[in-house]
């Protein structure tokens, strides 16, 4: 059955879907209720037209600019830099941040051939030059590449003005027990400790 094999092959290219789950999904689709496949394929077909990167911040949006960038109620002096569009959703979902975002689309990684030209760094520098930001918050992942990218951008932005630079703290989870924290977590939180 080449049609079915083809479908399974496509499905298994989706993130965190292995060949087993792919065939389970494929068989589900074969036996699904009337209309389900049609609306699913319509949604998939149109998703890239309906949802696209915001021309200002790079986050996914259905409007241009996105609701965050076009909301005058948000704090225009705060800019939070993240790696991926999903990171915006994650931070937004907490409801504790009311500033603006900028999505880099990845991290600097010469080993994988990713330089500043492949990330939204130039647009970031231009945006900061024109904007009224006071504080830049780095929310890149706590990896070597995330760290390097933050340091790199900090150097570029330092030339453009006098900003407060901050970085997300990483450490012991709330309600956590020191004894159960991994040594890595403990080490990071010790190095990044704050005054009290």
């Amino acid at each position: 059955m080449t049609e079915l094999d083809d479908l399974i092959k496509h499905l298994s290219m989706l993130p965190s879907v292995g060949p087993k789950s792919a065939s389970r999904i494929a068989f589900f689709l074969v036996g699904s209720q009337k209309g389900f496949n049609e609306s699913l394929s319509r949604l998939i077909g149109e998703i890239k037209e309906k949802v696209f990167p915001c021309p200002i911040c790079g986050s996914y949006s259905e409007t241009s600019p996105c609701p965050i960038c076009s909301d005058p109620g948000r704090d225009q002096s705060l800019l939070c830099i993240v790696e991926q569009p999903q990171d915006v959703l994650t931070i937004q979902s907490i409801g504790a941040y009311n500033g603006l975002f900028h999505v880099l689309g990845g991290t600097l990684n010469p080993l994988e051939g990713i330089g500043a030209d492949k990330l939204n760094i130039r647009s970031l520098v231009e945006r900061v030059e024109k904007g009224s930001f006071k504080e830049i918050i780095f929310a890149t992942n706590p990896t070597e590449e995330g760290d390097t990218t933050a340091l790199y951008i900090k150097r570029l932005l330092e030339r453009k003005g006098d900003f407060i630079f901050s970085r997300l703290a990483s450490g012991i989870p709330i309600g956590g027990d020191l004894g159960f924290a991994s040594r890595n977590t403990l080490m990071r939180s010790l190095r990044g400790r704050t005054t009290f």
């Binding site: 010469p110 080993l111 330089g115 070597e144 590449e145 790199y152 991994s182 040594r183 080490m187």
Partner: protein, 367 residues
Amino acid sequence: MRFLCVGIKDFRNLKTDVIETDFDQVVLHGRNGQGKTSFLEALYTLCYGASFRTENPKDMVCHGKEGFQLWSLIQDSAGFQRKIQLSVVGSKRSLSIDSRPVYDRKDLIFLLPCIIFSYDDIMIIRGEPDQRRDFFDRMLLTLDMEYLDDLRVYKKTLKQRNALLKQEKPDMDLFVVYDMKLAQSGSRLMKSRAAAIETFSKGFSELYGTIADDKRKIEIVYRPSWNCLDEDEIRSVLESSLQRDLYLSTTTTGIHRDRIIINDQDGLFINTASTGQMRLASLCLRSAQAQYFKTKTGLDPVMLLDDVLLELDSGKRALFLDKLNLKGQAFYTFLPEEKYFSGKKEGRCYYEVEDGSLKRMENGSQV
């Protein structure tokens, strides 16, 4: 700290089995190729999540199988019973401690430290500089988590910097960031190496003097690539060598180029030492490592002695074991015709290793 029992499945040529190891000394004897070293490798892999014989975990999988499993009940340094489980399937390694998954090897390394004495240790004495750097790095990272952290940062940054050096139009601003990171982690690593090697050298020199019939006074000398410790100074060294680095497409200075030299009063030890003397020196390196570990932590690491007593005559062997002063658990391998410990001793257990299986023996076949 000790292994109480060890479970093995599809590891090298070893038969699937559970081996009782709750003894002060475990003596394994058998012909070569029967699985003695593989058993020590299994123990080492349980301690550190990686082997001392290979960097590729697939090499440890029994021929024709998809993966292997190791597990052990151990007693940790605080006297608590813990369970370590490690499995490798394909290229995926999974690790758990007390049935909780562990994602970083770091959490395992400090649980049950061991020291392996191997026949190949002579290469630390005789081999390229990176062998000696590796020896000291491995020793230090089992003692100091910051050392391990800094070494990881340094190595990753170095790889990225070297990749950037190979690019046609490299981003000069990125070099500044990499140099900053190399200087920061590198200067801390240099300080640790310098302090450790100085102390270590004293113990090593003393051991060699006592055990070897050799009047030479030997010492270990640290020759770092950067001749400064200050981060800003290191950054300017990196900056001034950037043109050469770009030309050669590799980072030409840094702690990955440090030299660690073994000297006697006339110069390089290896220039005049015999193979026997080098082998003895390598034994002393491991013994000094055990001593250093004990001084720093107050703990007795598990000792794995693989075939290393073979070349010592009985007088030297006694002297060596006396100097080693084993207080912790120890595993020894011996050839069948070899004279090993004689007689019965409380807390000592003998296994005969043949064709991948370990058979318990009553007293050992006393020679």
